[in-house]
């Protein structure tokens, strides 16, 4: 049986709180069954609002949301059967871990022994067996987080929503929880809609990422595509690091275009430019530009080293290149033969394929 690719469907959804500003504009989004999709965007971009509309705590101003082909706008939250993990976990502080997990089962009138079984299973899934009688306040942040995840999954919901669930954890814990949630998703195959503003988190965990800005989905694609092939300068800027040049297209063919900068000219990959004279922002990932390239590359420039920052596994070099004083290079620390000294002039090359000419900023 093929999976339903429109398991969750946002159909032309608009949302406004005050009747003046649209926080979500004409959202069309299909989420297939069993998918891990992340809504990524800066704060105020409308991603949490989308999640709240799906959970039922906000109603769309216009349009409809479908869950398994049923419109759900008029179904109250408690009848939607959607699990949710909240930003601050929202564990019930007056109940033990067991009671927290049993809550969704008890309100569904599940038999006592069945509840015990399910709670057991859910707790072992997040490796917290034996914590049943603890109160939430007696748990560490990471443990509370896992209880919250277990609680959202214990009643076998079709969809689980997660609203920046790792925001309050420290870096190491956040990373290990990312993998843990990812593995849980892989094991039980539930559909997950995840909201975050942390791009690293989004890239690690998701099948697909929807980048939100200004109430609109800017790009919806898999993590690697999002990183390698951003469709506009916002996505390029928001995901990962990025070197940009602003300029004007002077010549364009199918696969390559010439962009005239303030002081120089480079070759780039035309993505969102169509004709001569278009303004554009050219975006190059730091790791795509190489120092003293051995292979032949069609962009070769010389830059002056402005700053060298040691980062453990790699060294970041800031160059003044073609008038851009913020041009960043990442040099792996295994290659020691380079002479990275302040003020040195070095050769830098990249392929025009990796220099994406996007919309102007």
């Amino acid at each position: 049986m093929s999976k339903n690719t429109e398991f969750v469907k946002f159909d032309k959804v608009d949302k406004s709180y005050d009747g003046k500003v649209l926080v979500v504009k004409d959202l069309n989004l299909n989420i297939s069954e069993g998918e891990f999709i992340t809504m990524l965007g800066p704060s105020g971009s409308g991603k949490t609002t989308c999640l709240m509309m799906l959970a039922g705590f906000e109603t769309p101003t216009n349009g409809e949301i479908y869950l398994d082909s049923n419109p759900i706008s008029n179904i109250p939250p408690h009848k939607r059967g959607i699990g949710m993990v909240f930003q601050n976990y929202a564990l019930f502080p007056h109940m033990t871990v067991y009671e927290n997990l049993a809550f969704p089962l008890r309100v569904r009138k599940v038999q006592k022994d069945e509840i015990d079984k399910k709670v057991d299973k859910a707790l072992s899934m997040v490796s917290l067996s034996g914590f049943e009688s603890r109160m939430p306040a007696q748990l560490s942040g990471g443990q509370q987080q896992r209880v919250a995840v277990a609680r959202a999954l214990v009643f076998d919901p079709a969809v689980v929503l997660m609203d920046e669930p790792l925001g309050a954890l420290d870096k190491n814990l956040r990373e290990s929880m990312q993998y843990e949630i990812k593995h849980i998703h892989e094991n039980i195959g539930v559909t997950v809609v995840y909201v975050t503003h942390d791009q690293g988190e989004a890239l690690t965990m998701s099948n697909r990422i929807a980048v939100f800005n200004d109430g609109k989905v800017q790009q919806l694609s898999s993590p690697d595509k999002l990183y390698e092939e951003p469709v506009n300068s916002f996505v390029a800027e928001f995901i990962g690091e990025n070197n940009t040049f602003g300029g004007e297209v002077t010549d364009i063919s199918k696969n390559v275009c010439k962009v005239k900068l303030q002081n120089g000219e480079i070759l780039a990959n035309p993505i969102s430019v169509n004709s001569k004279g278009d303004k554009t922002t050219v975006s190059i990932r730091p790791e795509r530009a190489l120092i003293n390239p051995k292979d032949k590359m069609d962009n070769n420039q010389t830059g002056k080293i402005e700053e060298v920052i040691y980062h453990g596994d790699h060294t970041r070099v800031r160059l003044d290149l073609l008038g851009n004083k913020e041009f960043i290079l990442k040099v792996p620390n295994s290659s020691n033969e380079l002479d990275l000294k302040l003020g040195n002039e070095i050769k830098v090359g990249w392929n025009s394929q990796d220099a994406r000419a996007l919309d102007p900023k």
Binding site: G81, M84, F92
Partner: protein
């Protein structure tokens, strides 16, 4: 030397504990000096008056000082038959001193309280003493017994003996409509004279229902206050606090204007045809008035602690409850409500304790069936001037409040109270 008993020394070789104490001493003195004015104030205005109240309520030294010799000689008397000659002699000697000081009237009054009939026989004895009719060379017992037949009745001598201790529980018993009878047994007063017990029960009843009404009305208000956006909740908060800032007397008076038979509320009822003009219900000078006015006046004391607790409850908890499948009611009852219990406890305790000692409002709008024990206390303070009785009732009220506090601590736990 084992390591446990070894003293830990600082780098200068002074024992650590001493060094620590030295370092902390200055701060401790400073801290004490800061609280000293308050402590002094509390002692003068609170602890001392309560102690004074307590001694006053059990004080019975007056008669002990009047008849020192009598009581001394009575110590050996078993109290079964008439006392020996010696007791009569010392009683006469005490009595003569009282007559000289013109204090025999007070004695008669006090003894009469203990047993009816002392007034007459003390007066008779007084006349005999005044005329020097009693010959101290003869048997004093015989002569006193001749003054009045009641002096021959052992019950009267027993009554005198009962007044010997300098302390008495009579006022407390009286407040419970009871007294010590001739056999030193606690007895109830006759049914038509039991007024205090009714007042106590009514006080508890009014305090209880006022607390319930305050809770029923305050809970939704507090919830609204805690969940509304700031600009509306501030306005609502002012509405809650505004009566709080108005004088208690003014508020009570305005309730009188509203509730009286020709008052605003009654006029309105007549206008909308709810009641006939000639049949206006009495809403004041009875319990209804007391309930209405006290509930309104004490409402902020319920709302504020509830509000401060509700403010700390994250709205995502209710959302979590709903998203996990609980209906709004289940989410409220299983998640929100249990978390507000500390506020409910604090609010109810506060309102109940304030209500149980409430005075002005019941005095003004309560009428005969709406007055409370505090009004009775005031009555004895101002009108009968029986301060020891008023003190006894005041202390019983205080004791009652402490019992409630203790009970609350047992049931809910005082640590769970949250006042803000």
């Amino acid at each position: 030397m084992s390591s446990e008993t070894k003293q830990i020394l600082t780098t200068d070789g002074i024992p650590l504990e001493i060094s620590l104490k030295k370092a902390e001493r200055k701060n401790k003195i400073k801290a004490f000096l800061l609280v000293a004015p308050l402590l002094l104030f509390l002692i003068i205005t609170y602890i001392f008056p309560i102690g004074e109240m307590f001694t006053r309520s059990i004080d019975d030294k007056m008669i002990t000082n009047m008849l020192p010799k009598t009581f001394k000689s009575m110590e050996t008397w078993d109290g079964k038959e008439l006392p020996p000659e010696e007791v009569f002699a010392s009683f006469l000697s005490d009595f003569k001193i009282l007559v000289d000081k013109k204090e025999h009237g007070k004695l008669a009054q006090r003894l009469n309280k203990e047993k009816n009939g002392f007034n007459t026989i003390t007066k008779k004895l007084f006349r005999q003493v005044k005329r020097n009719k009693i010959d101290e060379t003869q048997s004093i017992k015989e002569q006193i017994m001749k003054v009045h037949k009641r002096w021959r009745n052992v019950e009267y001598w027993q009554a005198i003996k009962r007044t010997a201790p300098p302390y008495t529980s009579a006022k407390y018993l009286k407040a419970m409509d009871m007294y010590l009878n001739e056999d030193n047994k606690i007895t109830q007063v006759s049914e038509d004279r039991r007024i205090h017990r009714i007042l106590w029960l009514r006080t508890v009843e009014v305090a209880f229902f006022v607390t319930v009404f305050c809770f029923l009305m305050g809970y939704p208000i507090a919830h609204l206050l805690a969940t509304l956006p700031m600009k509306y909740s501030n306005l609502l908060m002012i509405c809650v606090l505004l009566p709080f800032w108005t004088s208690l007397l003014v508020r009570t008076a305005s309730w009188m204007i509203l509730l009286q038979q020709q008052g605003v509320v009654n006029d309105f009822f007549v206008m909308i045809g709810l009641v006939a003009d000639g049949n206006r219900p009495e809403m004041m000078y009875n319990k209804v008035g007391t309930y209405v006015a006290m509930t309104q006046i004490l409402l902020p004391f319920m709302v504020l602690p509830l509000y401060s607790v509700m403010k700390t409850i994250s709205p995502s908890l209710m959302r979590a409850g709903k998203s996990l499948g609980g209906t709004p009611f289940v989410a409220f009852w299983k998640v929100y409500f249990p978390l507000t219990i500390p506020g409910i406890g604090a609010g109810c305790l506060l309102v109940f304790i304030l209500a149980i000692g409430y005075y002005i409002t019941p005095a003004l709008v309560g009428g005969a069936s709406g007055t409370l024990i505090s009004n009775q206390i005031a009555y004895h303070m101002k009108t009968t001037l029986d301060w020891s009785f008023a003190s006894a009732m005041g202390l019983m009220l205080l004791g009652g409040v402490l019992v409630i506090y203790w009970l609350y601590n047992k049931l809910v736990g005082v640590d769970n109270i949250k006042l803000g």
